[in-house]
């Protein structure tokens, strides 16, 4: 393919990236000599990998791309490099290469030797390391060594794809950098408007609306989608999730909700202003920009019964830390753990000692307020990080919370271990020893005030009454 044709095709496929594509074609062409090293950098979703991959595929230069996401260790990267180079050369030269000498690639020296042997006498070869800055367990000398491979193997050029520029990590001056700048608003709109989604999932029947042809529908789709994109960008994506993928996801999440009145026949397809006013609540919440595993069905069901909430429904999401009920003693253990984490241990005698008289050890909430309103403000304890406690303290508080005696059965320890593997309790000290119930170990809770309050109310304990300093609200 001629260089101009390549440029044309790529520009059609990747709009708004003309500059980068031209630079690539200047640096890597079959006939002209290439730079031994290039750093292509840019933020996420700016087309680095796809453009380089497509360009190399079109240009006819043999190449191999190694994705660092798939390499678990540095050694793994080296092994994969050698095998993908071999695969690429196999394909290029048509015949299988004798692979026996390349059995093991333990280190960077071996890689160099293998590449030298492989590329001896063959033409130009491009090696692309994608996301090399994210490589796990990378040896510290790998990047500087790769930067110098071009000096030792004249027909090899290396492209490193990274998020940020690598001015110092390579220890080599004068490395050409190719910047993939983030798309501005106009480019984003241009790219996304290439493929507008449909307003009507099932096109309206031709008998009923004979004028509304498919072409007209497509025109309407594009018109509305364009306007809609601009609104989404200005109201939501400008502030959070500015990259192409987040923007697209946000728009796609809102689109079906947005066009629902049109589908139901409430508004016409070009009635953008009224549609906007009707659906403004969509752009006021933040649900659309959050990624979730389970796509929120709540909105669909909310609007299903015809009642369209005009204000952003302050749907306080019920955040439960656990869905199923816990056993009785586990609940008490968790409450005791919370108290042990948030009460200083010196106050334990006041709060949890079993007095001889029947007065409860609770204290009135809010008593300290007004009396000791000192100059320096105290942060409420439940907003601070939990402090670690020992196991015996947890058990002691646990016993004082319960009315009757509890047998010292091993089931209690099993429950502590279970709660630990649920990450509701976290072990912080004594990591060295294998015994999880070691007396020296220290523990911390891993849940918040709201939840423990609900938990306490479930078993008839008002946790706030036992908490030092009380809790407002």
């Amino acid at each position: 393919m001629l260089p101009d044709e390549i440029l044309d095709q790529l520009s059609r496929e990747f709009p708004c990236r003309e500059l980068q594509i031209q630079q690539l074609s200047a640096l890597y062409s079959l006939s002209l000599p290439s730079a031994p090293l290039l750093v292509a950098h840019g933020l996420t979703a700016t087309g680095k990998t796809s453009i380089i991959r497509s360009y190399l595929a079109l240009s006819g230069i043999p190449y191999a791309i190694i994705n660092s996401r798939e390499c678990i260790t540095g050694r793994h990267l080296l092994e994969r490099t050698v095998s993908s180079c071999l695969d690429a050369l196999d394909e290029d030269e048509g015949g299988p290469i004798d692979r026996r000498p390349y059995a093991r690639t333990e280190n960077i020296n071996a890689l160099l030797v293998h590449l030298q042997r492989m590329l001896e006498g063959s033409g130009k070869f491009v090696l692309v390391f994608d996301g090399i800055d994210k490589q796990r367990e990378i040896p510290p000398t790998l990047l500087p060594a790769l930067a110098r491979f071009g000096e030792l193997i004249p027909n090899l050029s290396i492209i490193l794809i990274t998020t940020l520029a690598l001015p110092y990590a390579l220890h080599k001056p004068g490395v050409p950098h190719l910047h993939f700048s983030p798309y501005p608003r106009s480019s984003l709109l241009e790219i996304l408007s290439l493929d507008p989604p449909k307003i009507f999932l099932e096109p309206p029947s031709l008998e009923q609306y004979p004028d509304y042809t498919l072409d007209a529908a497509a025109e309407d789709d594009a018109w509305l989608w364009n306007r809609f994109l601009g609104t989404v960008w200005d109201s939501l994506s400008k502030h959070a999730g500015r990259d192409l993928i987040s923007f697209r996801n946000t728009s796609m999440r809102l689109w079906r909700e947005f066009v629902r009145p049109i589908v139901e026949g409430q508004f016409g397809t070009r009635d953008f202003a009224r549609l906007m006013v009707n659906r403004r609540h969509l752009f006021q919440g933040e649900d659309a920009i959050l990624d979730r595993i389970i796509s929120a069905p709540s909105q669909a069901s909310l609007t299903q019964n015809g009642v369209l909430p005009t204000t952003p429904g302050k749907t306080v999401m019920k955040r439960k830390t656990i869905q199923h009920d816990l056993p009785y003693y586990s609940t008490h253990l968790l409450i005791a753990a919370y108290l042990a984490s948030y009460n200083p241990s010196r106050t334990d005698t006041t709060y949890f000692m079993k007095h001889t008289d029947k007065r409860k050890n609770k204290r009135k909430v809010h008593t300290t307020h007004g009396v000791t309103k000192s100059k320096h403000r105290r942060i409420p304890r439940h907003l601070l990080t939990p402090s670690p406690f020992t196991l015996d303290r947890l058990l002691a508080i646990f016993r004082s919370l319960l009315e009757g005696p509890v047998p010292q059965v091993a089931d209690l320890y099993t429950q502590i271990a279970t709660l630990t593997s649920l990450r509701l309790l976290v072990r912080v000290g004594g990591v060295g020893s294998a015994d999880p119930l070691d007396a020296g170990a220290r523990w911390r809770v891993n849940f918040g005030w709201e939840w423990v309050r609900g938990l306490g109310r479930g078993v008839g304990i008002e946790v706030g009454e036992y908490l030092v300093g009380g809790v407002d609200g």
Binding site: I72, R99, I293, H324, T418, S421
Partner: protein, 667 residues
């Protein structure tokens, strides 16, 4: 021999072997063990079948949903090829039952679809590399290799060029090429216990391979989907897309299992009320775990057939020649046998008693006859409980009492007088006709041979009445509150309230008569059926009730045992020297106790920081020997070292000559 450094010890060969001191000809307590084992196996296999069907029914709906999800996910969706299909399985906090659950799920997935199913648990995945190694190994079922060797043996590799490292997903790709599985379902069994970083990296990696390997992820979650999402990074959330599946709560499953195993009408060995209450309480308070419940039940069966030699009579079709005289002797010593004989004595059946005591043959016949009738009585109780629970359910009496607690009440013989039953009977009296119809139709399911009520006649009569009634409102019985009205009369400035029955229509009268008949018949039925099972003849053979073996096996008290051994060593040693002092509860310190126990009691009396020198002088004062202080010191040091080994004391950083107290008694 002193000049030799080592030598071979050769004991003197004696001519005569020491005579064995075993008693060989005495009764073996374990006679007929093999037969009893066999009986146990038969009884338990019956139960196991019940359990399996119950469990499979319990999670059928959820598992079928998951299966459908996987089937849908297996079809590649061109629009949505960038996300991994993900199922979040909310399985509740009983993590011990995850293993069997995912195993059942896996079996179903393998049977129902053409997918590969691999389970990963947190213990085998401390980091990404090990996780992948395990994954590859499980998929390709390769024999485990040395972990250090990341490559195949060099001899094999040098001939064939580069080999994949053993955590490379390329192995999986090759395997997939050969097997062409529709999708690779990977179940993360206990997602909470995984390190978040490992999960994030794993998802990232799987996503990057998604174009070559069709992954489907299933996460077992104990807490909730929201807290699971909170643990992942935004990027990984973008890679996942799926559904949430709720698993049946374990207390519901336990309830179902209870009615299928313990409260079922057809079991050979019954479980007593005390034992049942114990395991149910344990479920509620401590574990919530189906597996534990089944283990307890199985252990009860085992204990009964192993330790009780009369259990041989539970064997199906046992003949007289198979049973041993010891078993009959044991039966003659049973309390229920004695009670029975005494009853017979009161009615002057001495001939009979003589025969029972003398003739094994006669006793055998009696036993097999009585066992059968007792079994029937017990089954009738279970059916009556199911009936009662059904009645309560269809009348919607609050609070709803689960079948298990009804059953426990019935099995301990407290049902007849209980307020629960009275309440139910009263609501039956008041029942309006529409509910009555509903009740009759729902009771059809319970009806079995032991049941004498003619439900169908009631039904036809009722339908007749309803047909004749002109009003659309349901018929009401005379006890219905709506037929009562209060009349207030003011006499000499005093308000008198008087109840007044509204006049009943003809139909209502007839209906009241019908309901009254029904009520009386049910009342009779309950009164005759709910007998105390403990008073049945041979209840010891039919019912297993001791709690202690269960407590010892399933609920040990390790810490309590150590504390007790140290604070009152007499309980374990049983020696004469320190026994008398421990009579009045508080064990006194005495020099005869072991040094560690002595020191521990001193330890209990001190505060959280203990001065070792003080401890020593106290120890010396009690256990000391004037002439040899060094010996006492040695004892003291050893005792202190033992306390340290037990984790009771730790050297303190605050003060050099002090030790810190680490554990308090009774926690």
């Amino acid at each position: 021999m002193e000049h030799q450094r080592c030598y071979i010890y050769s004991p003197l060969e004696s001519e005569v072997r020491p005579s064995k001191r075993q008693r060989t000809n005495i009764v073996q307590p374990q006679n007929l063990l093999a037969e009893r084992l066999q009986t146990f196996r038969e009884a338990w296999s019956h139960q196991e079948k019940q359990i399996q069907t119950t469990l499979e029914n319990a999670d059928r709906t959820t598992q079928e949903k998951i299966l459908d999800f996987i089937k849908v996910a297996a079809q590649p969706d061109p629009e949505d090829s960038t996300t991994i299909p993900t199922g979040l399985i909310i399985a509740g906090p009983s993590i011990a039952s995850y293993g069997p659950y995912f195993e059942r799920l896996g079996r179903r997935i393998k049977d129902g679809t053409d997918c590969a199913y691999l389970v990963l648990s947190s213990s085998e995945s401390p980091n990404l590399k090990t996780l992948l190694k395990n994954l590859v190994q499980k998929a390709t079922s390769r024999a485990a290799e040395d972990d250090d060797d990341e490559l195949l043996p060099p001899g094999a590799s040098s001939r064939n060029g580069p080999k994949l490292l053993n955590f490379d997903l390329g192995h999986l790709q090759g395997w997939q090429k050969r097997n062409r599985a529709q999708s690779i379902v990977i179940a993360i069994q206990d997602s909470e216990a995984f390190d978040s970083n490992v999960l994030v990296e794993m998802i990232d990696l799987f996503h990057s391979w998604l174009d070559r390997l069709p992954f489907v992820l299933l996460f077992g979650i104990a807490t909730s989907a929201e807290s699971f999402e909170d643990r992942l990074s935004g990027n990984s959330l973008r890679y996942l897309k799926g559904q949430k599946f709720d698993v049946t709560q374990s207390d519901e499953i336990i309830e179902k299992l209870f009615s299928a195993t313990i409260a079922s009408a057809h079991v050979s060995l019954r479980i007593g009320p005390n034992f049942s209450r114990r395991i149910l309480d344990r479920q509620k308070d401590h574990v919530q775990n189906v597996q534990d419940f089944l283990d307890s039940l199985k252990y009860a069966y085992m204990a009964h057939f192993y330790a009780n030699c009369t259990s041989i009579f539970l064997k199906d079709g046992i003949s007289f020649t198979h049973s041993s005289p010891d078993a009959f002797e044991a039966v003659r010593n049973l309390p229920s046998f004695r009670r029975w004989v005494e009853d017979k004595l009161d009615s002057l059946e001495t001939q009979e008693i003589r025969k029972l005591l003398d003739s094994d043959r006669y006793l055998f016949d009696k036993i097999s006859q009585q066992l059968r009738s007792s079994q029937q009585v017990l089954s009738a109780i279970n059916i009556a409980v199911a009936f009662l629970s059904n009645v309560r359910e269809s009348l919607q009496i609050t609070p709803s009492v689960p079948l298990s607690s009804l059953w426990i009440r019935a099995a301990s013989g407290e049902m007849v007088e209980s307020p629960l039953l009275r309440e139910t009977m009263l609501s039956i009296k008041k029942i309006p006709s529409n509910k009555f119809l509903h009740l009759l139709s729902s009771l059809r399911n319970v009806q079995e041979d032991h049941f004498s009520l003619e439900l169908d006649t009631y039904r036809t009569e009722l339908e007749e009445l309803v047909k004749n009634s002109t009003d659309s409102a349901p018929l009401r019985s005379q006890h219905d509150v709506r037929n009562d009205s209060l009349r207030t009369t003011v006499v000499a400035q005093k308000v008198l309230l008087s109840k007044h029955k509204a006049a009943l229509s003809e139909q209502d009268k007839a209906y009241s008569e019908l309901v009254g008949r029904f009520h009386d018949e049910i009342q009779d039925y309950f009164n005759t059926t709910f007998v105390d099972p403990q008073e049945l003849f041979l209840s010891e053979i039919l019912i297993y009730d001791p709690k202690l073996p269960h407590i010892e096996v399933f609920q040990p008290k390790p810490r309590f045992a150590i504390e007790r051994a140290l604070s009152t060593p007499h309980d374990y040693l049983g020696c004469n020297c320190c026994g008398s002092s421990g009579r009045d509860g508080e064990a006194a310190l005495s020099a005869t106790q072991p040094a560690t126990a002595l020191l521990y009691q001193l330890y209990l009396e001190s505060g959280s920081l203990i001065n070792v020198s003080d401890l020593w002088s106290a120890f010396n004062a009690i256990g000391g020997d004037e002439d040899s202080e060094s010996k006492t010191m040695a004892l003291f040091q050893r005792a202190l070292a033992e306390l340290k080994y037990l984790g009771l004391v730790k050297p303190s950083r605050k003060k050099v000559d002090h030790v810190a107290k680490m554990m308090w008694k009774g926690l």
